[in-house]
């Protein structure tokens, strides 16, 4: 599957970065991440120019990385500032320095032409760093191409079958969806509104609702990396007020960052932000463990599927039905972006 370059990707949670050296491979590029003395996040190519030793397995000394093999020393801009045993530093001695932005609890890295890096293009997930929400989060490595995770998340009917007993109920697969492609802004929306559905344990135990529910799933996918699921549950018959306030609804913002690592591996960042039971540790533990279980069910299925797909001849026919409308839209938009068509214009720039 082709990568989409000239885009921002989530490389890590902000909490993962400190005065340690963190290795991540993004779109096939090995990157080392750390914080400078000032606290600013830094992302450099994770290979010394000399003999390509990983800088992530080297030493962070003040604002420099000293290569753990022969001591080539790099500043936070990637420029080599010292080499062993000689005064002259070769002109080409520098490693790539990636544009970085820290936003909404994520560390984003720009993969592509640095002159095109514009932080206003980064799609937002504001709930993750908003005190009015309590968030649980994690990251699971996936041994599968990122397109399989995009397919998975754009078609939630699989919840009924793969995640029964956690988040799936029969109504998810049975309820028709509405799909929109916003060409100008580069967003795919898939909406599934269930008026009278069973309450799965994920929501029953966290909200305390015992009966049937209204369940809304409004997906907003900002390809290639950010996936948002605005989830609303409430007792059956309870809807938001006409003015948009929703005192009797429970809102969960489910966020995924889909970051391709190699052609057959992906970082599956996931977060669940809620506007109820704020700070309740028991609810946080339950939602964390439940969602992680669900993510690991996806990981197991997609790892299996990767093996199947990798062994198939190219272009083998699939069969798509109505539930795939959103997934097909995402595939088309990703293919267009990978072909180098212009990136969407950010809302703030219009």
């Amino acid at each position: 599957m082709t990568f989409v370059r000239n885009q921002w990707y989530v490389a890590a949670y902000a909490t993962e970065l400190g005065r340690n050296l963190l290795a991540r491979t993004i779109l096939g590029e090995p990157i080392v991440l750390f914080r400078a003395n000032s606290g600013r996040p830094v992302a450099l190519a994770d290979r010394c120019v000399h003999r390509h030793y990983p800088l992530s397995q080297s030493q962070l000394v003040e604002n420099t990385i000293v290569c753990g093999y022969h001591g080539f020393t790099y500043g936070t801009d990637g420029r080599c500032v010292a080499v062993p045993g000689q005064q002259r530093i070769p002109r080409t001695a520098r490693v790539t320095c990636y544009p970085v932005a820290e936003l909404d609890s994520f560390v984003w890295v720009w993969i592509g032409d640095p002159d095109r890096a514009d932080a206003t293009l980064i799609p937002r997930a504001p709930w993750l760093a908003d005190g009015r929400y309590t968030t649980v989060a994690g990251m699971e490595p996936l041994a599968a191409r990122y397109g399989l995770l995009v397919d998975n998340l754009l078609d939630l009917s699989h919840e009924t079958y793969l995640h029964g007993g956690y988040i799936g109920t029969p109504e998810v697969a049975d309820t028709p969806i509405t799909t929109e492609v916003d060409e100008e802004r580069g967003i795919i929306r898939v909406s599934r509104r269930m008026a009278d559905a069973a309450c799965p344990p994920f929501y029953a135990q966290s909200t305390g609702i015992t009966g049937r529910i209204v369940r809304w799933q409004d997906i907003e996918y900002h390809p290639p990396c950010l996936y948002l699921l605005h989830s609303r549950v409430a007792p059956a018959g309870v809807l938001p007020s006409p003015d948009g306030t929703d005192p009797d609804g429970f809102h969960v913002e489910v966020v995924y960052a889909i970051t391709p690592s190699t052609g057959t591996s992906t970082y599956d960042f996931w977060a669940v932000a809620r506007d109820f039971a704020l700070g309740d540790e028991a609810v946080s533990t339950f939602l964390h463990d439940s969602n992680r279980t669900v993510v690991l069910q996806d990981v197991a299925a997609l790892n299996t599927l990767e093996q199947v797909v990798a062994a198939e001849p190219p272009g083998l026919q699939e069969l798509s039905i109505n539930i795939d409308t959103g997934g097909l839209a995402a595939r088309r938009m990703l293919a267009r972006m990978a072909a180098g068509e212009p990136a969407p214009v950010p809302a703030a720039a219009r």
């Binding site: 009015r132 028709p176 969806i177 509405t178 799909t179 929109e180 492609v181 916003d182 060409e183 100008e184 802004r185 967003i187 929306r189 909406s191 809304w216 409004d218 907003e220 605005h230 609303r232 938001p240 948009g244 306030t245 929703d246 005192p247 609804g249 809102h251 913002e253 506007d275 798509s320 039905i321 109505n322 795939d324 409308t325 097909l328 839209a329 088309r332 809302a347």
Partner: protein, 54 residues
Amino acid sequence: MTVTQPEQATGTVFRIDWVPGTDRLLGTCHCGARGEQEDPALMWDWLLAHPDHG
């Protein structure tokens, strides 16, 4: 707390509604053209052929 509304759409939106109680898909182009299909791939082909919806 209020319910989160997805970002406001621009004027260039293709929409596919799965008609409740049926297997039919109803596509609406940003130009106002509407068409029906039972296959999502064909539905997207029809929509994205804009302005040549045929």
